[in-house]
């Protein structure tokens, strides 16, 4: 491993997830590469069906039984996750890698108290006493801004609001001091004012505890404000990845550019004007997918795009999967003649 790679907590190379469905095989994730350094916040951005949730489940080892996972490299802190037996995998889960889900309503078990759910992981993974676990739970609940923490331990999930439940989920994820937290759209179901508070909290805690976070979302505004690095997914692939300022300043992939320009930007987009929409829809990932998956919607598609585009390296850590990421397009086609 080169010196640059030593700092990587998570290394993913050519991860593929296939799901057998009625009509054939769904290639939910089609060979993605990314890495997460210790203590950094990586955002995985994409729209529905791009494979970001499947990726998070693959990393945690929580894929549905019918799914098939392959990867050239899937390493967590040097441990090879593909060959790890399930028993050791579940040791990792919760202790060193934990997950925050989208729906706090369903992610917490309504039949057990909060204290029970918070302490369960720590007792199992670290073998601490119940008393010690409770103390840590109280400390974390206070840290995430929940008042009367000691009383809360005896409360049930239904007694809390959505925002509070999500804070409890964050506390639960932090109980065992994990190295990596995977947060799958944790604020999407919350009100906008609560979302801002939770995001701020997450960022603070992440920096304080030095935890790496993979934050999955579809909201480019959130990404801009909290991410250190961004990976944009489309149709099962990472089509662009870069440090946050670089991605927003110089989006290299036409999809990223399209996404950024179709959000109304207050102050920049004239109100009442037509937004620049991305035409068409995502192609089906069932069966063989050839060439660039974006070419049927791309304003600058060329005949070359029928070949699968390589991962082009731009300056620094900025990479994009496009034939024309770093060079001008030969003869830009007018939109009507897209094939």
């Amino acid at each position: 491993m080169s010196r640059l790679e030593v700092n990587n907590l998570l290394e993913v190379n050519n991860l593929r997830v296939d799901l057998p469905v009625e009509a054939g095989t769904l290639h939910a994730v089609r060979g993605i590469d990314f890495h997460v350094e210790r203590g950094e916040m990586l955002c995985l951005v994409g729209e529905s069906g791009c494979g970001k949730s499947m990726t998070s489940l693959a990393l945690m080892g929580l894929l549905p039984r019918k799914a098939r996972l392959t990867a050239d490299r899937l390493r967590f802190d040097g441990i090879d996750l593909t060959t790890l037996p399930e028993r050791r995998r579940s040791d990792l889960r919760g202790a060193r890698m934990s997950m925050i889900f989208q729906e706090p309503m369903t992610a917490l078990n309504p039949a057990y108290t909060l204290g029970n759910q918070l302490c369960e992981g720590l007792i199992r993974h670290r073998g601490v006493s119940r008393q010690e676990a409770r103390e840590r739970a109280i400390y974390l609940l206070e840290r995430v801004g929940i008042s009367a923490a000691k009383d809360r331990l005896n409360q049930y999930p239904h007694q809390l609001s959505g925002g509070l439940r999500q804070r409890v989920m964050i506390a639960m994820a932090l109980m065992c001091e994990p190295d990596l937290i995977i947060a799958d759209e944790p604020t999407t179901a919350l009100d906008v004012t609560i979302q801002a508070q939770i995001l701020r909290l997450l960022r603070e805690l992440q920096q304080e505890f030095g935890t790496a976070v993979i934050f999955i979302t579809h909201d480019l505004g959130v990404v801009a404000r909290i991410a250190d690095r961004v990976a944009v997914m489309y149709a099962g692939e990472v089509i662009e990845s870069a440090p946050t300022p670089a991605l927003y300043a110089n989006p290299a992939h036409p999809y990223t550019r399209g996404l950024l320009s179709c959000i109304p930007a207050p102050g920049k987009t004239p109100p009442g004007s037509r937004l620049q929409a991305i035409p068409g829809v995502v192609p089906s990932l069932v069966g063989h997918v050839e060439g660039c998956a974006f070419r049927n919607r791309c304003p600058q598609a060329q005949p070359t795009c029928e070949r699968t585009p390589p991962l082009m390296s731009l300056s620094g850590d900025h990479r994009a999967r496009c034939h024309y990421a770093d060079r001008p397009v030969p003869a830009p086609r007018p939109p009507e003649t897209i094939s």
């Binding site: 049927n296 939109p335 897209i338 094939s339």
Partner: protein, 311 residues
């Protein structure tokens, strides 16, 4: 504004890979249906056996070697063909009055299936109406109907059916009516809960906003969307009705002799249970197989209908 700006040219109309273009990627509907039906073992078995039973019921006169009512005292209690004294004349033997067991079995299918179907229909209509009304309106209507359902659930069906049948005397019609009026509870419970889910769907709001009449909303918007669950309940209640009829007939309060009801056949063979077990074993096995098949069918339909998601 001109026309061209209203219909986005590059939207769904002209580009490939639109949601609609993807229809052609899926295999044709009939092969999907068959694959789903037979991919599920229980469902396949249930479907085949029940289908066979229906065919037997329809073609019983052609299939039965003898008249099920014909008594031949000279040949009473003949064992089935696999016994030393059996013969191919009466493949499954004869009963105490010399009637051919096989023929009675085949004709008995008619009785079991008729009862199952008609009772399921009657109780289905009663239970679904009550359940949909309770689920859709909620509030006081729901409170009253739930009270009725709970009362019904508190009744031991067999005892009540027995008591009522003894008042009116047993017969095929009595059995059907009684069971139809008693077995609607599961329909009501299921349709009530499914209706509660559908009631809050936005397409129901849309219909209400339009000013659609209540009967229209219940029949055309709500009912088709709860039909899946109800079909499952229907198969289960069919099996239930068949078993109950057998029980009633066995106790003498159901179908009366000489009708070839399987339950009656068991009752009539009771005395010979230890020395000529085939007389009750054969109709008993037939009951078991039919009820099992219907249950498998119901389970299979429920699995098929279960959250397959939005497509």
């Amino acid at each position: 504004m001109t026309t061209s700006s209203v219909s986005p040219t590059a939207s769904s109309a002209s580009t490939p890979g639109t949601g609609l273009g993807e229809i052609s990627l899926q295999p044709p509907a009939w092969s999907r249906v068959t694959r789903r039906l037979f991919g599920h073992r229980g469902l396949a078995i249930g479907l085949i056996v029940v289908g066979l039973a229906i065919l037997i019921a329809i073609f019983a006169p052609l299939l039965a070697p003898h008249d099920p009512y014909h008594q031949d005292i000279a040949n009473r209690m003949v064992p089935p063909v696999w016994h030393d004294e059996g013969s191919w004349e009466h493949v499954l033997g004869t009963d105490k009055l010399g009637r051919d067991t096989l023929s009675r079995l085949l004709f008995g299918t008619r009785i079991s299936l008729t009862i199952g179907l008609v009772v399921a229909l009657i109780s289905g209509v009663i239970g679904t109406t009550l359940g949909v009304l309770a689920g859709y309106f909620g509030g006081r209507v729901d409170a009253v109907i739930s009270y009725v359902i709970t009362t019904r659930l508190a009744m031991p069906v067999v005892l009540v059916a027995l008591a009522l049948a003894s008042l009116t005397g047993g017969s095929l019609t009595t059995v059907i009516l009684l069971l139809g009026l008693l077995l609607w509870d599961r329909f009501a419970v299921v349709s009530r809960s499914v209706t509660q889910q559908v009631r809050d769907a936005e397409y129901v709001f849309a219909a209400r906003t339009l000013g659609c009449s209540l009967p229209y909303i219940l029949l055309r918007e709500v009912l088709p969307n709860i039909a899946g669950s109800l079909i499952v309940v229907m198969t289960l209640e069919m099996a239930h009705a068949i078993l109950l009829e057998a029980t009633l007939s066995f106790l003498g309060m159901g179908v009366q002799p000489p009708l070839p009801s399987w339950g009656l056949m068991v009752a009539e063979g009771k005395a010979y249970m230890f020395f000529q077990p085939w007389v009750i074993a054969i109709p008993g096995i037939a009951l078991f197989v039919l009820v099992l098949a219907i249950n498998l069918l119901g389970d299979g339909l429920r699995d098929l209908n279960a959250p397959g998601g939005r497509n």
